[in-house]
Symmetry: C2
Subunit: 231 residues, 2 copies
């Protein structure tokens, strides 16, 4: 690995650990093990170095979330992505940048971060749409809103973990989000059957218990079978 790559790697690490504003060229050179001459030969300065390092970090972060693109059932992809191992206490390489004043003031750096979040949002929303289409989630939730909520719970999970110095609150947040997702999935699965079952009860009550016809083949029966099959 040449000096240039080592400098990019070092910058990427320091951007993660200390952010942009608090990282000095001196820190980078020390971690990369190169002198000032090399750094200013390969890069125009701190900004240039940060742009290239951030591109690398974002590329890696997107790859780590490739699970959303897998071939599994959409609902399962959502759950699996929530429970992806994430280094809460170290924080998010990308989300971290949003709190750095010098990043916010730098259109190029901020643009990279914004684009990354938009791209992840599209992935989440697409998978949620598939889940709704497959009847795995209720049709009355907005996929874009839900996508933002999942992005937020992950980013916020990092914040909780860093605040406490402990992974536990982030894991708890993911479990809480997954629990709500499960309730929604159950609701979607029971929606059609539940309505049917209720109306069949209404029918029975309306027609009387000894009315007679078709009992075994009631929707209630099928609903039980469908629900088992759905999961």
């Amino acid at each position: 690995m040449g000096s240039k790559e080592r400098l990019i790697e070092a910058t990427s690490e320091l951007l993660w650990e200390r952010g942009y504003a608090a990282t000095s060229p001196h820190d980078i050179m020390a971690l990369a093990g190169v002198g000032q001459g090399s750094m200013y030969h390969h890069f125009s300065g701190k900004h240039d170095l940060a742009v290239q390092a951030l591109r690398l970090s974002i590329e890696r972060a997107m790859d780590a979330n490739g699970l959303l693109d897998s071939a599994a059932q959409p609902l399962e992809r959502l759950r699996a992505n929530l429970f992806l191992p994430r280094p809460g206490v170290k924080g998010c390489r990308v989300g971290r940048m949003t709190q750095d004043p010098d990043v916010l003031a730098d259109p190029e750096l901020l643009g990279l971060v914004a684009e990354a979040f938009e791209q992840m949002h599209r992935k989440w929303a697409e998978t949620i749409r598939e889940a709704i289409d497959a009847g795995q989630l209720p049709g009355n939730v907005d996929p874009d809103d839900l996508a933002s909520a999942f992005q937020a719970v992950i980013q916020g999970g990092y914040v909780l973990a860093k605040a406490s110095g402990d992974q536990a609150p982030m894991d708890a947040a993911m479990r809480g989000a997954a629990a709500l997702l499960d309730v929604a999935a159950t609701s979607a699965a029971s929606q059609q059957p539940a309505i049917t079952a209720e109306s069949s009860l209404d029918q029975i009550l309306r027609h009387g218990v000894d009315g007679g016809e078709d009992m075994a083949a009631t929707p209630a029966n099928r609903s039980g079978g469908n629900r088992l099959g759905a999961h």
Copy 2:
């Protein structure tokens, strides 16, 4: 307002806008309109100033979330708190601190942040417990997990808003979280009635519509009924 108060107010604002590491004593003095002599007379240094300013910020942030302690129905308090107006693009005065390297390295500052998050967590969890006890949320969700999820979705909402420079993604995240909460509430509301309805149906089915023998009361039927009750 004396120099001391002005200095604390100015520090509080700058901690919010630029964080701790990127805020210099010079910035603070300029914003407060006082000289160096005043600052080092009232405070031992930057750290001391930050501690007192952060205490103030936290106090205000807790007050802003006092809604969770209101007398309204617990579920409504949860929803209302999600939809509290929040300055997404400006970020969270408290959560912001978790991304500052100099805060993470300062036990006193980090301790204040950690304590604030714990306190908010207790508020959320307590309200969620009340909602479950009131039958407004399903009994099988963990209040602590759900509390962490709500804290995270808010903190993450700030991150999304700062990344995009737009309040919209944060609002979307809150709507998404509220939608999941609503599904859970609907599920809880239908739970008790559902059990009753289902068990009455089971009874009808078990005793037979035509006086017959248990044909309708197959395991498949009961499993469908039980699942409605259990979830």
